[in-house]
Symmetry: C2
Subunit: 414 residues, 2 copies
Amino acid sequence: MRIIVQKFGGTSVANLECMLKVLEKNREILDKGVKLVVVLSAMAGETNRLLAMAKQWSKNPDPWELDALVATGEQVSVALYAMLLKERGIRTRSVLAHQVEILTDCTAGRARILGINAERIMELLKDHDILVVAGFQGCDIRQRITTLGRGGSDTSAVALAAALKAEICEIFTDVDGVYTTDPNICPRARKINRITYDEMLEMASMGAKVLQIRSVEFAKKYQVPVHVRSTFSNEPGTIVTKEEEGMEEALVSSIAYDKDQARVTLMDVNDEPGVAANIFGPISDANIVVDMIVQNPSREGRTDMTFTVPRGDLEPTIAIINRIKKDIGAKAMVHDAQVSKVSIIGVGMRNHSGVAAMAFTALKNEGINILMISTSEIKISILLDEKYTELAVRTLHEAFGLDRPESSIFCEGA
Amino acid sequence: MRIIVQKFGGTSVANLECMLKVLEKNREILDKGVKLVVVLSAMAGETNRLLAMAKQWSKNPDPWELDALVATGEQVSVALYAMLLKERGIRTRSVLAHQVEILTDCTAGRARILGINAERIMELLKDHDILVVAGFQGCDIRQRITTLGRGGSDTSAVALAAALKAEICEIFTDVDGVYTTDPNICPRARKINRITYDEMLEMASMGAKVLQIRSVEFAKKYQVPVHVRSTFSNEPGTIVTKEEEGMEEALVSSIAYDKDQARVTLMDVNDEPGVAANIFGPISDANIVVDMIVQNPSREGRTDMTFTVPRGDLEPTIAIINRIKKDIGAKAMVHDAQVSKVSIIGVGMRNHSGVAAMAFTALKNEGINILMISTSEIKISILLDEKYTELAVRTLHEAFGLDRPESSIFCEGA
């Protein structure tokens, strides 16, 4: 049995007219004699409407009840869409998470999928050509409704594709794919034809606007090819896939940026074993995620320690440091909330040297000062004064040839 | 463990303010150390909003998908209300039909409850003081969502009370009880303190505005005392219960009416075995419910047959008769859509003669002509020209002393 999973986001099911476009996408697959699992999000605006109600009912809504509440959004979508299909004579039905045991852990609001009853779904696919599955929701071992966090329908779709060994998981959305950078700040940004799971993961917050990060982790783990594309056009979008030959030519595939950054420097800290744990332990205990960390070489048993946190976490971070600064022997603390991070991403970096040098030169030529650098195998992240963000993105985008059409050796080899 | 079931209809949970009134009703019970099962309907207007959407999506919505759609209404109510309770420190949670196996038959839209996992609910009641259960919904053996028909939350509540052997099932609504007749047409109508299951069932359409008929059948079968009362007052309402001593003094407890009536007379039908089956078989096959039937005594092997159907079914009934009139040998058919039915109801009738005669005399004195009569053990129904409906109701209400306060022998013995 050939199976394809298609997922449609909130803007793709916003109203009857949109759902008729979804039907067109489904028909292309059905006409090939392939069975379809269609995963739907809540209609655009519906989840926010429900969350606003919850806030009215309770200042701090119980997370389990919140899940039971917002899960109705997807239930409405799948019931309406299944009606639409049935009226057109298509063998179909709606499917809720508990009906096919999309089992998650017992975490309200951001549950992780543990398993899916694939046998049950295969059974249903015998009698139906399309199963319309509610995305975003799961159920835990005690039969309670859970949800997978914002963008969780992406993960529902990829998990279903993995469980059913589907040929591909198509994610339909209101953008036409993954771009070399944010087209809003760099008009010459291009749509990427193919990108690896790892690159997509490194794009972090920028990529997350297109796909929930967890869905990419899932896709990578189970090697599910994911096709991100637009509901409102027939053009192919971006294939997220494992690394393949031909892709290696791509040195850099995209430039990401993140303005939600703040920097903290602790000066003249005692450089002794365990000092990093003493600083970052309490910060982590407060659920604050530290991103970049730089420790200067030690001088006379003392060092400077610089790190970044999300901007909204700067105040609590300062409070924590003030509490522990005696223990760590810090002489002073400076902080800056006006910084941003620009990242250069590409699997090709692994086999090519000189990417960092190219980046630094390009930025220098524009007079942009680098505040911090951190590197991984396929990503170079640079912290800058926030005011340079857009300029830096455009400069790097051009420096690595991402402006140019596909044939360049700098482009992803599609 | 002492348990009480309280059910609140759509107008009682219409908004946050209303739900706070529900909380007051709950607290009275909680404060006595009694565990509560609270059954909620969808917020007023919500079910209609969802049905209207369905109609937009499909001219003839699939009944299973319709159930999945409208069941979200109750899910929203219970999640919001549970949030409200939790914020106030009450040990509670929302409960959906499939979570406690409110098992129904496989009939979408008007399913019947087959069983409830009482053990599971008792288990939950150990850790919770209030369980907030979604009314109206059930699930079938295949885990699909079903709904119990309009007013189905009443049946949910009574079924839960029966399964849990609750002390009482309190149905909170926007009226303050069951009345001796419709106060809109008879200002002297009084609230009834106690009424039997059978009387409530005979009130049919008039009673159904207060309680879903099926819930009364359920209550009668499992001997669940039901208290119908107002969310918006502290006055006691009407207790629906089994027949008890003291109640027998009540000759007549209420006057009901139904304007949704049409009459058909077939003249000069062959009076031979099976003729009734030949007429009413095809009508029943068309899902038309025949109410009153009168067959005149046979004259020379021929008879007249008169019956009533809901007014909206008159046209299809005429079409059916025209199709079969040759077979049954009917000479002519007359019909009248301007008729209504007035009923006198009371368990006391069973042991008292003369009720019918009293009724006929009272109507005669007002010059009201009787078109048809049918009687059961505890009900006399009279078909009249529609224009006399209100006058007949008021006349009978007064004739049987229902205008007078409770002490009269004609009143229900409260």
